[in-house]
């Protein structure tokens, strides 16, 4: 997971339109996968740090909690219904989003496209 996140970080920094979309986004997001915590701290749209948990003292704005198999399906080139979107994961009971949801909604396109950056082929920006 750590390597995948590092790859997503690199792709984000190589994607000008995402950096533009996220230019006002400076927050920490908790990504929890099978209980393992990853604190993703964004600054002005760039993913500044990826810090592994567990941590009880790291503040975060919103969290996406899911499992590795669901994420693997989410990152397929053509995901199955429900696995095609982070809200789909929630809908089918394979994900949970909590915290400051409005902060997520205000930056929804940015965050969904960021999450799509690990998709197996390069259609991330349209599938996210």
């Amino acid at each position: 997971m750590r390597a995948t996140l590092a790859q997503m970080q690199q792709r984000l920094h190589d994607t000008p339109h995402l950096l533009r979309l996220g230019r006002l986004f400076s927050d920490t997001v908790l990504l929890e996968v099978d209980g393992a915590e990853f604190y993703l701290t964004f600054r002005d749209g760039r993913l500044e740090t990826i810090v592994e948990g567990p941590s009880r003292k790291t503040p975060w704005r919103f969290a996406l909690r899911t499992d590795a198999d669901a994420l693997a399906q989410f990152w397929q080139p053509i995901p199955k219904p429900g696995f095609h979107d982070i809200f789909g994961l929630v809908k089918i009971g394979r994900g949970r989003i909590d915290g400051d949801i409005l902060a997520l909604i205000k930056n929804l396109r940015f965050f969904k496209e960021f999450m799509g950056l690990a998709r197996a082929e390069s259609r991330t920006e349209e599938l996210a």
């Binding site: 053509i78 809200f87 789909g88 809908k91 396109r109």
Partner: protein, 283 residues
Amino acid sequence: MSFEPITGRYLTITVQGRRQRIYVEIAGQGAPVLCLHTAGADTRQWRHILNDAELTAAHQFFAFDMPWHGKSLPPECFQTEEYLLTTEAYMETVLAVSRALGLDRPILAGCSMGGRIALQLAALHGDAFSGFIAIEASDFQPAWYDIDWFHRPDAHGGEMGAALVSANISPHAPQAERWNTLWMFMQSGPGVFRGDLSFYTRDDSLIGRLAQIDTAHTPVHLLVGAYDLTCTPEDARRTAAAIPGATCTMMEELGHFPMSEHPAGFRPFFADALTRMKVSADV
């Protein structure tokens, strides 16, 4: 230069005592089909059907922008008004447009909130139509989100709305049409998507009316995309099961905006639905 065969015209109707200037697109010749767009969007969602040479050879399609949407203006004095669509105003608008166009019992084809109101009209004004194609339509879904998110001074409601509804677009959709579909939401006027969602997520009056629909006189066919998270296949099947005689087809590779997001994938399902209207209309 070659124009598309779609013609755009304006007409003025009166709804609940207020004048509404309505934009209508027209294409084809034959049996009339009145097309309704989804929440937060406009008639452009139907552009591929209205440009389809084969379908327009036997049908005349009319697609109109609801008041506040697309090229239809909001009513006079809108500037101090909170837009909240209601079942009554929505039904009256559709009936008034149909009358103003001089349509004789058109087929009514609506998507999402357009499908919801098509089923309301099937229950309460079935005689005004010859059949109903209810796309991504269901009895009721409460919102899991806060509709107020989409109308606030510190963020762009259209961009947030587009990002939200992108969850309902199939990954099979061609990229260009995915983004054309989302663009309409990005362009939606302030508070319009929210006002549509108020109707869609708060009015559950259709549930008790489904059994009233007389499919012997006005057939009802539901179409639902497998990738639709808002009106899921289960929602559509439940709704169809509550309407005696209604039929329902699931579209494996489509989402919540099938005619717009993936026109080639949607076309055969829509052509089949039109055929079902004809067969039943002969009964």
